[in-house]
Structures are given as C-alpha cells and as structure tokens.
Symmetry: C2
DNA sequence: AGCATAAATGAGAATAATTCTCATTTTTTT
DNA sequence: AAAAAAATGAGAATTATTCTCATTTATGCT
C-alpha cells in the first residue's frame, strides 16, 4: 500500500507539477536512457528557456565530457526536442521544444548577452502567416518555420531582465 | 572638352546607373582606400544581397589574403556598411547595407543553402512595430532592430530561386 | 612630387568551437 | 547473466576566425 502511494506521488509530482521527467522524455523518443542524457535534459528542464552551450558546459563541468555534451545536444536535435540558434554575438544558444510551450520569438540584449523568449499576439502571428503564404507563392518556396528576432538593450540592471514581468 | 565629357559620363554611370563606386563609399566613411577593401566591396556591390564568407573567399582567392578578408569585413561592419548573420546551417552570411535598399528579411533554403532577401508589406511592418513597442514596455528594453527569418525549401531546381520574380 | 609616419597587408601561427576517433564502459536485448 | 549494440571519455583533428609581426602601401605634410 505504501509503495502504491509513493508511486502515485511520483506520478503526480513529475507529470502534473514538474512536467515530464527526463527519463520519461527520453524513453518516449526511443533513445536509450543514459546518465549524460539525463543530466543535460535536467538542466534544460530546469532553465526552461534559452541556454548557452557555454552555460551548459559550466553547469555540467566534470559530470559530462564536452564531446558527449555536443553529442547529446545533437541527439536531442535529431528527435526534435531541441532548437539551436545563434546570438548576434555568435554564441550558440539552445532551447528545449516542449509541447506545452507556445510558439515564440527571441529578444537579444547586446549588453549582457541575455536571450529572452517573447510571445507575440495571435493577431500578429495570423498576419505573419498570411505574409508568409504570399512569400511562398512569390519565391516558389515551402516555408516550414519562421522566427522574429529582436535586438536591443535591457535598460534595467542586466540579468534582471530574465525575471518574468 | 573630351576629358570633361568622359568625367561626366563616369559621374552619371557610377552615381546614377551603377550606384556609388567602392572608392567613393570608402572615402565617404573615412577609411583609407586600399586594394583589398576595393576588391571586397566590389564583389559585395556586384552581388547586392546576401553572400557567404566562403563565396567571398573563393571569388577573391589569391587576390586577398584570408586574414585580410576577415579584417576588411570587420572594418565594413564597424562603419555600418555590412550586416552579418548566420544561416541555420551555421554559415556566416554577409550583406551590404545600402541607403537605397529597403528594410528586409531573410528566407533560408535548407536544401541549397541559398539565402534570399524578402520584403514584407508596409502594413505588416507597421503591425510589427506596434508589437515591438509593447515588448519594449513589457521587458523594459530598448529595441533597435528586428529581423524576420523564414526557413524552408525552394521547390524549384536550386539556384533558380535567386532569380527575381 | 617626395618623405616620414601611420595604417594596412600577407603568411602563417594561435585560438575557440565543434566534430571525430577509438579504446573502454554502459545499456539493451536475449 | 551473457552477448551485442550503443554511448562515453579523453584527447586528437578540423574548421572558422583572430592574432602576430615583418613587410608593403596609403596618407599628410612640405
């Protein structure tokens, strides 16, 4: 009985409160469950939102070899769990693609290098979708994705711009 | 008299038909006029639009040392003549910023790697400007620039997608 | 025009980010 | 629990970019 309760607790905790565990996510995508993958995924799940490869390397220092870190990131890209992009300062930024997260864009601070997720209004997204249809016709393209990038400076003390508002 | 006519021809040819010459552009920005700078600028003026650093290197092979090419590109960035960005395949792309060119965005083909300049409607740009104002307030940011990136595949034979339509 | 000074260049070494290699370890399959 | 397959760590290799420094080129001055 006690074991059942613990199991239930884990179930609720991970799936409802915390979201999926790294192990769950890995097994759902048919990739073998290994320590480096769990560790990397956990860091990414903690910092939902954009993370620098450099930051990952620092956090995982001594726990995951750097070659393995890159391999794991490529694995996650292959199963469409990870989105990778480059900041204007040329640092590689990485972000989990979670089903429950809305489509969003990025705001880059040239002072502190911070990258912030930004959602734009539905009305705007509809308008952009219409523009994209026109572009597809004009250039005979099949456009599968888009992203709006905004560049500027946070006027607050840096690092404060990450706190939600 | 003949000399004056030739001068006039040159003037009209370069400023009205061809746009400014590389030398003119350089002297207007107070950078010394050197061969490598002229050569790089000329290639960029020919291919108005996005060019890969790789392509530049190939075209200028043996004419400009690779260290110099990078230096010249950095010089042009410093005087705000050059916009540099990264394709999803992680190649560095470079594009002249010409006063007579409209604000535009980029369309990337994942098949042939081509990058295409795209203008979106004024109505769309106005809408986006309004969204950006909201974002500036929300995140206490000063946003100085933005770019819409579109990703997909040209359904034509590759390389054809560069021809205007 | 010609000289002195400052700036730019070429060639290749140095650096940084990412990928690759391969012997060992871990995970999965049976 | 053993065999087969896959993943890992450590460091070498690769690639793009920057740096160094001796030489060349451009600019300002007379």
């Amino acid at each position: 009985m006690r074991i059942i309760l613990i199991f239930l607790f884990e179930f609720f905790y991970y799936t409802l409160i915390m979201g999926k565990s790294s192990k769950q996510i890995l097994s759902e995508h048919n990739v073998s469950i290994t320590n480096p993958r769990i560790l990397v995924l956990e860091v990414l799940l903690d910092n939902k939102g954009p993370v620098t490869v450099d930051e990952l390397q620092n956090v995982l220092n001594n726990k995951v070899a750097k070659s393995t870190l890159y391999r794991v990131l490529n694995d996650l890209k292959k199963i469409n769990l990870l989105h990778e992009f480059t900041s204007p300062e040329n640092t590689t930024v990485v972000e989990l693609i979670l089903e429950d997260r809305a489509h969003h864009h990025h705001l880059f601070c040239s002072d502190c290098g911070e990258v912030i997720d930004v959602e734009l209004s539905n009305k705007f997204e509809d308008f952009l979708a219409a523009e994209i249809k026109k572009i597809e016709k004009k250039f005979n393209f099949k456009i599968s994705d888009h992203r709006v990038e905004m560049f500027g400076q946070c006027t607050d003390q840096c690092k404060n711009c990450t706190t939600d508002s």
